[in-house]
């Protein structure tokens, strides 16, 4: 009986720890992200910029993209789940907080600027 109760209490404790963890998720700061994007603008800030290695295509437009998607993409590059060599090299140098800040900045970047250019 006692043991069962202990298990129940432990389980409850474990379950209640889950939402707490979700609450401590890193929050990105748009203004901080704006100061951390020096390595991004050389490709993603140039209209029509193409990457040529290892495949040739225009680098994706990231201003206005989903914040969580950008964050996950950077994490995936860091863990080599996404393979682009340039993006991996950059992502390994970023902390979780850096990624969250950059994601927040780029997700909102399209919404505030007035001179959006989307060349086709």
């Amino acid at each position: 009986m006692m043991r069962r109760m202990t298990t129940a209490v432990l389980l409850l404790g474990a379950l209640s720890a889950i939402p707490t963890q979700a609450q401590t998720e890193i929050k990105g700061q748009i203004s901080t992200g704006a100061e951390k994007n020096a390595m991004c603008i050389g490709c993603h800030g140039i209209a029509g910029y193409q990457v040529i290695f290892p495949e040739q295509y225009r680098v994706p437009m990231i201003s206005g993209q989903s914040e969580k998607y950008i964050y996950n993409a950077l994490q995936a590059y860091k863990k080599s789940e996404r393979k682009h060599p340039t993006m991996r090299a950059i992502a390994v140098s970023l902390s979780d907080q850096d990624m969250a800040d950059l994601a927040a900045f780029y997700a909102h970047n399209g919404k505030t600027a007035t001179s959006a250019t989307t060349p086709k």
Partner: protein, 125 residues
Amino acid sequence: MNKLMIATLLLGLSTVTQAGDKIAGEKKAAEKACFSCHGKDYKSPIDPTYPILAGQHEDYLLATLKQYKRANTAEKTAALTRTNAIMGGQAAGLSTKDMEDIAAYLASLPGPLAIQPESRLIKTK
């Protein structure tokens, strides 16, 4: 002279213009139910972890679809692959033509994605 300039311009443009058929792409995207995750307008994904696709560069979208397909095929050793349980399955059944068409369709849609040029050397304020 003018004709030559136009021809040269067109040639230059063709390096970034794909051969995808938007109308066929719209049909194929509907058939594959891409909207069920990426949203009916392809700019309102049902979950924030899914990307906005509407208006994204056509060649990037095509490269991405190919990378998803490659991850599950004999081409696995090729340069780039991208792994995702859902997208891997979705791309597996697509031909190169299907991928070109879907990319052309999605790129043609209006969306919030943009390039925001900025220069650290020119003060705008």
